[in-house]
């Protein structure tokens, strides 16, 4: 049973002037399921890495204070390097595929055990147990490169768990997972906490996914002291939280609910007027894709689907990992020629950068200039767009960052810059591939505002996303694909309303047709 003690921990990254952690003092009791939250750049990753010593041993920088792990032994992260703590603390990075060391799942799980010099018979037993604990026995012979996102995450967690650590650190484990996959991972983590007494510390933005599971929250705000305590209280202090909490704040419930169950209890007291009607008449058709068949080699991904996008639409493309969302986007923008089928964008073939533009999943693939305005200028000088740097940045609300170096920004901020650079092409159809990685509340709000203004004026957006709440908030139409076919299409209230997996929180509390807290708040008053 391990407790984690932070004693006045301060840390500044090398080449940085402002400290990320400032005299942080807190204690995490044994066997807690801890959420670390705060907007991007506030120091969540730093906080997590301070627990296993990666900060400061791996990162360098100025460090003061101490983090002590009290177990049967007492260990201090200053005196012990991360590798010395590897039997006690395990770490799962945000992108596990970059961190895989070997080819085979089974060997990957055994890797830590090999490093710790565990006896071979014990190793074999532990690997079997771990495979069972995370329900991945069927994957043991597979190459890690062929796994889906959710499988990879589970393998990474298994590899971290194999040595039997007392503390498990996870950096945004569900950001790449579809709702079901996220559900599976979080349930597994909860089992670890409840059955094995492991302390799980998890940094996460998608509060609607985790808020119900955790029993302790650490809230980080840049320039302000760390807050620790009951999740509801911490989230309220940070003015963030899942949609039910936002609703609670709007309606003045105190404390605001964190889970669907809590929300349902209070919701029965509400008297809601009728559900607002679905808005909008779609404009002229911009993109028509018929009979699209596409795949990679022998593997068929899209099985003859029809998709259309009209002016003024914000279409959310949803579906499980591997359903074909990325493939569809790539076909629509001309990157991936379909085997059969016809795509017409504004009357001609899709012309990347001219009538269609795609913002990639990882904004790092785009950014190469020295300043944010430089990125936009690079796009403008390459094409015939009539936009200007100023308007492109204004549209995303990031004009204040013009001179900042893109790599200095946080992940969510970088995404906004990448979107600005892509939108500057002036292509009327904008495609976004999973734009929610690292997107905190503030950046998401900017994104939503941008998407809404973009969709006016004869333009349209299609975004592939897992984020149900984002789709509920901003989409005018939802297209759901699975196994290469379109299985549902229509306004979000209908498509998302009664899906057991994809329903937004408002729908789960108040019934199909309710999408956002703001909607409910308006209807309740």
């Amino acid at each position: 049973m391990t407790t984690i003690d932070f004693e006045r921990v301060s840390f500044t990254y090398p080449d940085s002037s402002a400290p990320v952690l400032d005299e942080a003092t807190l204690c995490i009791p044994e066997g807690s399921f801890v959420l670390v939250t705060g907007h991007t750049g506030a120091g969540k990753s730093t906080f997590i890495r301070a627990i296993n010593g990666l900060v400061p041993h791996f990162t360098g920088g100025e460090y003061s204070g101490s983090v002590t792990l009290r177990d049967e032994t007492i260990r201090n992260t200053l005196d012990s390097a991360p590798r010395d703590l590897a039997d006690l603390v395990a770490f799962v990075p945000q992108d596990p595929s970059a961190a895989f060391v070997v080819d085979r799942v089974e060997d990957e799980i055994a890797y830590s055990l090999e490093n710790l010099g565990v006896d071979r018979t014990v190793m074999r037993r532990r690997v079997e147990e771990t495979l069972d604990a995370l329900n991945i026995e069927a994957l043991r012979d597979r190459s890690v490169r062929t796994l889906s996102g959710g499988e990879r995450q589970r393998v990474a967690i298994a590899a971290a768990l194999a040595p039997g650590p007392r503390v498990l650190l996870l950096d945004e484990p569900t950001s790449q997972l579809d709702p079901q996959g996220a559900e599976d991972v979080l349930a597994a983590l909860q089992r670890l906490v409840h059955d094995l007494g492991i302390t799980v510390v998890l940094a996460e933005h998608r509060l609607e996914r985790v808020a119900g599971f955790v029993d302790l929250a650490v809230g980080l705000r840049s320039g302000m002291p760390v807050v620790v305590g009951d999740p509801a209280r911490v989230l309220e202090l940070l003015k963030s939280g899942p949609p039910v909490a936002r609703l609670g704040r709007l309606l003045g419930w105190s404390p605001p609910p964190l889970t669907i169950r809590d929300a349902r209890r209070v919701a029965s007291t509400l008297n809601l007027t009728a559900r607002p009607p679905d808005e909008g008449v779609p404009g002229a058709s911009m993109v028509e894709a018929t009979g699209l068949r596409a795949g990679y080699g022998r593997r068929v991904v899209l099985n003859g689907i029809d998709v259309s996008i009209a002016e003024g639409e914000i279409v959310a493309l949803m579906g499980r990992n591997g359903a074909g969302k990325t493939t569809l986007l790539r076909c629509l923008c001309g990157l991936h020629p379909p085997e059969s089928g016809l795509i017409e964008a504004l009357g001609s073939a899709p012309d990347p950068g001219r009538n269609v533009a795609l913002c990639p999943q990882r904004p790092e693939s785009l950014l190469f200039a020295d300043s944010v305005s430089g990125e936009v200028e690079a796009t403008l000088s390459a094409g015939a767009s009539r936009a200007t740097v100023a308007t492109s940045l204004e549209a995303l609300g990031i004009a204040g960052w013009r001179d900042r170096h893109p790599r200095d920004l946080s992940a969510g901020q970088r995404l906004l810059v990448a979107i600005a650079a892509t939108a500057a092409t002036g292509a009327p159809l904008l495609l976004l591939d999973e734009p929610t990685r690292g997107l905190d509340h503030e950046s998401k709000a900017r994104l939503v505002a941008f998407l809404r203004s973009w969709a006016q004026g004869g333009r349209a957006v299609m975004l592939a996303t897992h984020d149900v709440e984002l789709a509920a908030e901003v989409a005018t139409r939802v297209v759901m694909i699975a196994a290469g076919d379109v299985i549902a299409q229509g306004p979000p209230a209908d498509v998302l309303g009664d899906s057991p997996v994809f329903a937004p929180q408002m729908a789960r509390v108040f019934g199909p047709g309710w999408l956002t807290p703001e909607q409910v708040a308006v209807a309740a008053s």
Binding site: G295, Y296, G297, R298, R299
Partner: protein
Amino acid sequence: MRLRLRSSLLGVALLAGALAPIATAEVACAASSAALVVSTSSNNYTFCVELGGSSVNGIQLIQRAGSQHGLQYKLGFGGNAVCMLANVGASGNDCFGEHPHFWGYWRDNGSGGWNWSGTGASNVTVRAGDTSGWSWGTGDSGSSHPPPPPTTYESVCGATPAPDPRPKPDKPREGHSDGAKPKLSGEGGGETVTPTPRDGDPKVADNAEREGPKGKKKDGDAKGKRKDNAEGYEVVAPSASPSASPAAISNPVGATARDPDPPVAAFAALGLTAVLAALGAVLVRRRRRLEGT
């Protein structure tokens, strides 16, 4: 597994096919020889030396005369200079030990006479139909050193070499080295043909035959130094130093006796390359399809 096995069988079959030419090729040479005249103060020896389809340098000609006709010779200065021929000359390593007497090197001038060779024998290319001469005496230049007696190629080797039976591509070989034409025997007329390797012969750089100041300058040039090697063949291996040359001298004796037929084995090598390359391409395509790239 089956994939591998099939590929293996296919590979073995094709390999056997590619190597077959080596086994079945006849060593067919065009008649090709050069004349060598060795003139001591008391005796005159002539030898018709078989070249076997390759061209040699002046030193190698002596070596071949040694193995084919028993001419006694001794080389010095790392195999680049002639000390002794037919038991006459300097017996030590220093070929000028009998100074002012030494072995002078002459080449035929096309009309039975001799031209003093300004280039060392190891840098001179001797081809079929050429006549080379060595004379023992004093005198540093063609005007002072006694030449061998006038000798024509025909008088030493008989009729002019037969033309190469296989068809040859038109290559303007003489065109690019002006003033440095290989000395072919002009009389006896008719088709004097320089024996060449079979189809697709590479251009022969006649730089070895450029006499005069230009040749001298080349000797000083870093790249040109390579030609001072004993054979004129480049031993480009890491041990390409003059110290390698004495050991290399003993080799050609064995090599000339064997006289391999390079083009055939070379084509086998090319065939092998093509087979493997094609096989590789097939395997790559198959893997790409399986992986769905």
